[in-house]
Amino acid sequence: MVQTGQITFYTHTRSVYCHRVHIALEEANAAYTLHSVNLKERPAWYAKVNPAGKIPAITYGGPKAPPEDPAPEAIKINESLIILEFLADLFPEAKLLPSDPVLRAQARLFMNTVDQHLFEGFKRFLFNYTEGAEKALLDGFEALQMRLPPAGFAVGEWSIADAAAAPFLVRIELLLKHDLGTFPEGEGPKVLQVLQGPKFARVMKYLEDCKTRSSVKALVTLL
């Protein structure tokens, strides 16, 4: 299907949620206008895109309009996972989701695991450290690992499930490596070492596989 409407993508280089959308847009070979939103001083006009002020957001369709003045006819979509599903629907030939219903459900459960388990662990260990938070992070990795097939991506072939997971995994690895977070000093590399052990071999292989994808590679420098 030929892309029939304009896409404007409101983003910020440091947002992992925005990275998800970047990856999917690249995988879809979409034509889009990128607009960087200043998160510290959100412009008043941004409420026209998303009244809650959050990113990522996209507008789709409607007449050509500057990013600061989106057309009323354009649909505004926020929530990274909803945007990913939208792109999968809009670009069926890009196969951003498999066509098999069971695999599609597995992809969605994978994304659910990223947002529930992995993100919970991420938040607790990296941002709100309390004693024992390491376990929450490692449990998140384990929950994700349990959903992976023996080889390949989340549902075998690349899909939006990987676009959802990769930015988080890459970010977590980087923060642990550089010991950046609210956890006690030295804990970052320690936890990374645990992750590099045999118990987490499958999920760490998955992370490496994600990093070789060109749509992800392009972003790694931004992280």
């Binding site: 979509i77 929530e79 909803i82 939208f86 629907d89 219903p101 599609r104 969605r108 459960l109 659910n112």
Partner: protein, 254 residues
């Protein structure tokens, strides 16, 4: 219609999450088996054999006919999360159009059901059990009401977005009309009055439109829901247990 594998749904009459799935199954005119789980008396086999988290619904796709206390076949697919199951039903019953086919309408439907999740669930739960002000639920309902078109369903035709919302909405109405919940009677009355006021005219029409569909008659047993809720509230008053995952310390006697 394409051949489908066997569908088995682990269900409970009082769960809105199960209700969502049953509505979609009925709209798709699907053939399916139900294995009933009593949430107030959950059998151990459920956690051991079906879902280690103990949550419902679980939809099993494929495998032989199942009975209580049996483990689904390893070849069968076990799906959890009501919204994931709804999307799965969209995919396996394309002719039922449980979502529209155009990407923009689908995105609207998803934005709606995500909003249901993020703005209504917590306030609903807290109002019913934890003395949260009714206004927290009412303003959530107002947000969703504002997203409805002037008439009809969320994206015009009925879709899984309606299933996701109406399962919660109909329960709120039933609970308020019957004073079911741990809130004080006067709080419940006030909330019911607000729900029945002009503020929610559009929402009530929307609820009636949903109730008029045959799928609702098949998937909602009002008396059983009331009975179970009554039992749940009584249990809460005696033990502080809300559900398998949430328990409050009992208040000291006044």
């Amino acid at each position: 219609m394409a051949e489908h594998k066997r569908i088995t749904l682990y269900a409970a009459v009082d769960s809105p999450f199960v209700h969502r799935v049953r509505l979609a199954l009925e709209e798709a005119k699907a053939t399916y088996d139900i294995i009933w789980i009593d949430l107030l008396n959950k059998p151990e086999w459920y956690q051991e054999k079906v879902n280690p988290t103990g949550k419902i619904p679980v939809l099993v796709y494929g495998g032989p006919k199942l009975h209580a206390d049996e483990e689904p076949s390893p070849e069968a697919e076990r799906l959890t999360e009501s919204l994931v199951i709804l999307e799965f039903l969209v995919d396996i019953f394309p002719e039922a159009r449980l979502l529209p086919t155009d990407p923009v309408s689908r995105a609207r439907a998803r934005l709606f059901y995500e909003t249901v999740e993020t703005v209504t669930l917590q306030p609903f739960f807290r109002f019913i059990f934890l003395d949260a002000p009714a206004e927290t639920v009412l303003s959530a309902l107002e947000t969703l009401q504002a997203m409805l078109p002037p008439s009809g369903f969320v994206v015009g035709d009925w879709s899984i977005a309606d299933a996701a919302f109406v399962a919660i909405l109909i329960r709120l109405e039933v609970y308020l009309k019957n004073g079911l919940g741990a809130y004080r009677p006067e709080v419940g009355k006030e909330a019911l009055e607000a729900f029945e006021s002009p503020r929610f005219a559009r929402l009530r029409t929307y609820l009636e439109d949903n109730k008029a569909r045959p799928s609702m008659a098949k998937a909602f047993e009002e008396d059983a829901v009331k009975t179970k809720m009554q039992q749940r509230v009584e249990r809460f008053r005696k033990t502080g247990i809300v559900n398998g995952f949430f328990r409050l310390p009992l208040p000291s006697t006044e």
